[in-house]
Point group: C2
Chain length 505, copies 2
């Protein structure tokens, strides 16, 4: 069972409680292979059952609230049929009126998303013998995620990532039970989001106005692909810093920097002293809120450099007028509060980077703080939880960073978060960050997988059962081969081989 | 011009001196884009000429010794036509009887391989404007490689690399003017080479006897694909260490290790005390010599652990008999000398890793020593050159090693090799090593490219003209986009974009 709550999909929810049936026949013996991430409660025997692709079908239980017509599960049945029987070229799943009364397996879940996760688990239990026959061992699993928020951030501004590569990443995310795609869609280098209300933003701010943009149709495709896999799409429109590309298509948005008493020609962060800034942000965020249905929106707020604000006489005058003195963190707080208020008004829950929490007290606080800085990040988690705010942890999972890329165990470190039950409840999850300085579609997949899967197990599974790197290693090797078999270019962990090596080029 | 000598292809050579013609018409202006690796002498003007795919053709000059029927150039014409006109779907190159008497470009080379390099250079000079039209600027180039040996090592034992991934690597190698594929084909973990004389070696020593092997046909395909691109295939059968997988299919080859007075069940390096060892090696190397036509053969000889030899009473008795005392380097030298003599008899030039040179004086010395260890590798180069042996340098180009993978400039460091002209001449080149602990077909390409291209420029170009990382950076970025356009999954160097992003998944 996967609890909903924070990870519910709002308007997408189908309905609750159902069974899935499938045809199995008991037979010989085989060691069961692992499931990644490790289920909470898992027992299996060496008794195995053959699966016949031609007789196998998924079906809704009679008592299930979900029935044929639930688009998410109907699609998942088709998808997982192919994943379970990679060699079978027929489409047995569509002929589900067979009356073979043999073995059955059942999957009970409280939500449609829990059922999707259960299908993933089941698909990982099925294996082939040397003759290509399919088997599943007798298994009992009771499962739920440790954290409701299990995200991966992709940065599509420092390099443009074509839609097909994003979709492929969503596929792989579902295999590791990630449920949030944090789309850091724009930043300094480029603005690839094609806005309906401000088309000049991508026309002038993208790397190329036609080939390096995400159209509305692209965005819908990503959201729909993600939704069918139980993945939320969390858009980030980071401001007031990280906005250089915005200035190209929206004049008077960025702060003109001054060199002495004259503008230098350079621009700094968003100009917080102009009313037009807030009108623009309100209009843009209104569009974003309607295009991205998720209840969360990420507002960024990281790494604001004050030097340009300091140089600008209009900004300084505004500071005086507002009584901020020379404390530019107050100006930043003023800006962020206004932006958070806009999203509150739009009925969205705001997420911000930890900088916003670190540097100033906000009167109207954002709901969720994302901790990303190095050092004692668990101290920071505690500080945020102490004031009753929710926390997402990203610090240990910067997979884009230099370092021995093959040391997957770095990303498997237990969290050991001590705190009251109340505080722990505020830690809603974690996120793998794949910043884009050195990453695009050429190397994204092997850099993400299977290392992100190590983080996925940390976010899903019981920490006590998954504290040993040595025990995890063969399981992760096995899971990595499953990813490769499914066409995911997941890199090897160490010397060895997969039964089915990657066949692409 | 590319000198032949050490890089000649022996029986493959076509013939010497020819021209290539192509249709060009002078027109407007455009900044010429770069060629990677940088040619020795390069002048170009802003005068540009349009290229019409329908009128363009390659042809042999009337005075050329090579004419239609030279398989290497006939194939290169077809290949480079597609590379030069990636958007054009016709096959104009085959209709080369057009009588358009317009501009011509000529390419003179002393060897067929030099002409292949020249075609690569020419293909990099052609660019498209925003409307898709093709242009080339007026350019004069006189070019030759700094070193005759410019290699890339792939390790197909620690992970099996499917043939299609090897072929793709050969394509990319040709784009950077590499000319040696060092095939480290077998090692401890697996023996994927399917031997005609000893089929049990792969049947029992490969990861899988059917799916994880290189058949004779696979090997021929690799050699043929490489040859057409001016790349030699240098096979390595590393012994006496790194041979664990050999023992599975060839009993009595490896040394039984002893625990006290009884065999422990473990095996060590090849057993140098048995005559059967040398019979086996002679038979295997005879086969290898005939399967791989290159004049070089790599015999390995690195990292021999003496502990197993020391434990074995028969080996110790052999030491006594031979008068080696307790100096096991003498035993190793004895073994390597025998193996080198076998290859000399087979008319091949032996290459060994530096260990063989470091640890003992050989009476019959191998011809070429490959320097691979860290530290003052140029000191080692000098030591080897001082005794008149040829040297290949690999130390600075271990691209598989952990570290900031994106720091391409690490592999661009000038060599600054000081020595007499005689000594310098003995340094025949260098090699990029891609060991296989953490590498297979899923991540090979982005890990190799474009970082190996940095090494390629060091090995091809004039060091004085290519000592600046800052000047090289935009050129390498441009070249990396050319690789991506050609379907090579070369990873990005830093923030930015290519006009044509990678379209695969």
């Amino acid at each position: 069972m996967e609890t909903t709550g924070l990870v519910s999909f709002g308007r997408y929810t189908c309905s609750h409680l159902y069974f899935l049936l499938l045809i199995v026949l008991p037979l010989g013996q085989h060691t069961v292979e692992g499931v990644w991430p490790l289920p909470q409660i898992f027992t299996s025997s060496i008794e195995r059952y053959p699966l016949n692709p031609q007789a196998f079908y998924f079906g809704y239980g009679r008592q299930s609230a979900a029935q044929f017509g639930c688009s998410v599960l109907d699609a998942a049945f088709i998808r997982y049929y192919s994943l379970i029987f990679p060699d079978y070229t027929g489409n047995g799943v569509l002929h589900n009126n067979l009356s073979v009364s043999a073995g059955k397996a059942s999957l009970n879940a409280e939500t449609v998303w829990g059922a999707v996760r259960g299908l993933e688990t089941f698909s990982q239990l099925v294996y082939q013998d040397d003759f290509g026959s399919y088997f599943v061992n007798q298994t009992e699993i009771d499962d739920f995620p440790r954290f409701p928020f299990r995200g991966i951030l992709l940065d599509t501004s420092r390099h443009f990532i074509p839609v097909h590569a994003i979709l492929k990443t969503l596929d792989a995310m579902a295999y590791s039970k990630f449920n949030v795609f944090h789309w850091h869609i724009v930043d300094d280098p480029s603005f690839p989001y094609q806005s309906q209300t401000f088309p000049d933003l991508s026309r002038k701010g993208a790397f190329h106005p036609m080939t390096h943009i995400y159209t509305q149709s692209d965005v819908r495709r990503v959201i729909s692909h993600a939704r069918l896999r139980g993945i939320r799409v969390l858009p980030e429109f980071d401001s007031p810093g990280h906005t250089k590309s915005w200035g190209k298509g929206q004049s008077d948005l960025l702060t003109p920097c001054y060199s002495g008493s004259t503008p230098s020609g350079a621009f700094g962060p968003v100009n917080p002293a102009l009313p037009s800034t807030y009108q623009f942000m309100a209009t843009l965020l209104k569009e974003v809120s309607s295009v991205f249905p998720d209840s969360y929106i990420h507002l960024g707020g990281d790494e604001v450099n004050f030097s340009c604000w300091k140089s600008n006489p209009d900004v300084r005058a505004f500071m005086q007028k507002m009584g901020f003195g020379v404390d530019f963190t107050k100006l930043e707080a003023f800006y962020m509060e206004n932006i958070v208020n806009i999203t509150t008004f739009l009925n969205k829950t705001a997420i911000v980077w930890q900088d916003v929490f670190d540097y100033h007290e906000l009167r109207s606080s954002p709901s969720v703080v994302e901790v990303w800085k190095d050092g004692c990040y668990l101290c920071e988690v505690r500080r945020v939880a102490n004031v009753g705010l929710r926390v997402i942890l990203a610090s240990p999972w910067y997979l884009d960073q230099p370092g021995p890329t093959h040391n997957w165990a770095r990303f498997y470190t237990p969290l050991n978060f001590s705190g009251t039950a109340e505080q722990k409840k505020l830690v809603i999850g974690g996120e793998v960050c794949m910043w884009g300085e050195y990453v695009d579609a050429t190397n994204l997949t092997p850099r993400l997988w299977p290392r992100a899967s190590a983080a996925a197990e940390r976010l899903w599974s019981d920490e006590k059962q998954t504290s040993s790197v040595d025990k995890a290693f063969p399981r992760l090797q096995d899971f990595r081969c499953k990813l490769v078999r499914r066409g995911i270019r997941a890199e090897p962990l160490y010397v060895g081989h997969c039964k089915h090596e990657y066949q692409g080029v």
